[in-house]
Amino acid sequence: MNPHLTFNLVSDVHQLLAYQFMVNALQAAGIVAVTAAVVGWFMVVRAETFAGHTLSMMSFPGAAAAALAGLPLAWGYFAFCGVGALVIAGSSSRRGRPRSLGRQSAVVGMVGAGALAVGYLLLSLYGGVLESLETLLFGSIFGVTRGEVLTLAIVGVCAIAFLVVVGRPLLFASVDRSLAAAGGVPVGLLSAGFLFVLGLAVAATAQITGVLLVFALLLAPAAIARELTPRIGLGLALSVLLGLVIAWVGLGLSYFTNDPAGFFVTSIALALFAAARLARGGLAGGLRGRGAAGGRHGGGLHGLDAAGGRPDAHHGHAASLPHPAGGH
């Protein structure tokens, strides 16, 4: 019996779960979606999207090296993404100096280029084309085994446990590094730790979506959630929910149509992101209109001036020179 989509949701879900390979796929996609959504939310807050992208490229030499050594591909993914994260963390921070996104992006770019070059070399040493090169690039969700589901679950639990423990200081260090450092938060250690967890999450995601489509599950849910709300708890919850919807609906559509899962997963993510941008644009336009009518900026400020009792003698500031600099 070929599966076919009906308007009966119960029957559709029943068809989805009819085969063990599909159950495995849905479980793996669910685990990866939740992990990627949570890690991705922090990635977006920390503006480390480029690092995430580059870490996904590390999967390529990782897979090639594993194939060459005759090991499971997943080992190669995790090993190379994890090491790549540590290289980026180690070379983009300098002791006693604040994090510089400029320096980090240069390092990240070079690590990415190096990863692809090494991957290409390993591939040619392997002697020809990896039979799963297309799978490597675009994912192989329907071939997931029980053992792989278990590995993904362990990695996912570890990544989320790490973020549960360090989430608050990590957020503090992300939005306000200097103040967090003054408050005793080990900002350098946290940032290296987060990059490592990001590497693991990327490696896990790449096994489902392939190297090229990692961002459908890593970036999209978090980016959409942050379009919709600036709240922390709500944003994380939305991100997870969106990740699950994108992953499961995408898989379901692929199952019923026989077209690639990566296409559906990514298209749904893209469509939702576009819708969220449009919705927020409309919302912001409405707010601006209201603000102009109510004079929302002026009110608070002048109220405070009056309360502070600013002497009238000092109203003359605007006409005078601010600060004398080197008169002679």
């Binding site: 100096r97 503090f172 600036p230 002048h302 001036d305 600013r310 000092h314 080197g326």
Partner: protein
């Protein structure tokens, strides 16, 4: 009256260069002191010493009755001005909350269940700090969408939220327009007076602060002078500090204009490191 800050014969060297020396400083509790001086005079360096982030090369320092850094949990610190760009999608109220418990391990989520009471108390303290700076109307918006003055008030609320005994504010007026400079200076004075909080405020320009500060510390030429504005910001005192003729003029509306002040080189300007 006990001293909140006491420096005796203090000197600091950074990278082989003496930033300042022979500095004696005594700030009684509850006083509002402005720290003035040209770029590179070592104003932020002084704050780093008081926070225990930098060691003195010579002399002694005491902060809130202990070694510098020993009582940092009782200090509200506002680092040199940080601007949050429009993409910073974190609400003002969450920023203030991070000032209360951002350094603690755990999740940045509103706690539920058995942590309810503690969480409610934290929320109340955050709300109280926001009301003290008059940020109630915009604290729920993403901080990146707030104006410069609004952001600065929220950051002061963040420094205030754990009920500190002393506020250390590094250039809180920088980048604000003149009405906002006066409003923030008045706000800081109000906090100083009503709660007896000692305030050290680094500023470039003394004029917006004139009606509010008790005393000023002027750092220039590697040395410091401390006292009331009318004694320190004078031709004689500043000429002595710089070792060069400086003239201080007073305009008819009471503003002070310093003429002939050589700008120090930007060698260690911390603003360049931070941004």
């Amino acid at each position: 009256m006990t001293a909140a800050v006491e420096l005796t014969d203090a000197a600091v060297r950074l990278g082989g260069r003496t930033i300042w020396s022979d500095v004696d400083l005594l700030v009684p509790e509850g006083e509002f002191v402005a720290i003035l001086g040209p770029n590179g005079a070592g104003k932020s360096t002084l704050l780093n010493v008081l926070l225990g982030l930098l060691r003195l090369d010579r002399g002694r320092a005491q902060v809130l009755g202990g070694a510098p850094g020993a009582h940092n949990e009782r200090i509200g610190y506002l680092p040199q001005r940080r601007v949050f760009d429009a993409g910073t999608r974190v609400r003002g109220v969450d920023m203030v909350r991070l000032g209360l418990d951002g350094h603690r391990w755990g999740l940045p989520l509103p706690a539920v269940g058995r942590f309810g009471a503690r969480s409610r108390e934290a929320r109340e303290r955050v709300q109280e700090a926001i009301e003290r700076v008059g940020a109630g109307t915009y604290a729920g918006r993403p901080i990146g969408e707030c104006s410069g003055g609004e952001q600065q008030r929220l950051l002061i609320a963040q420094a205030l939220v754990h009920d500190p005994r002393m506020l250390i504010l590094d250039e809180p007026l920088d980048g604000l327009d003149l009405p906002n400079q006066a409003a923030v200076a008045a706000l800081v004075q109000g906090i100083c007076r009503s709660a007896g909080v000692t305030v050290l405020l680094v500023a470039h320009d003394v004029n917006p602060l004139l009606p509010y500060v008790d005393r000023v510390l002027y750092l220039a030429g590697g040395h410091a002078a401390m006292g009331p504005v009318e004694e320190v910001v004078t031709s004689d005192t500043l000429s002595g500090l710089y070792g060069a003729p400086i003239e201080v003029l007073r305009t008819t509306d009471g503003r002070l204009v310093v003429v002939g002040q050589p700008e120090a080189p930007h060698l260690h300007g911390p603003r360049h490191v931070l941004r």
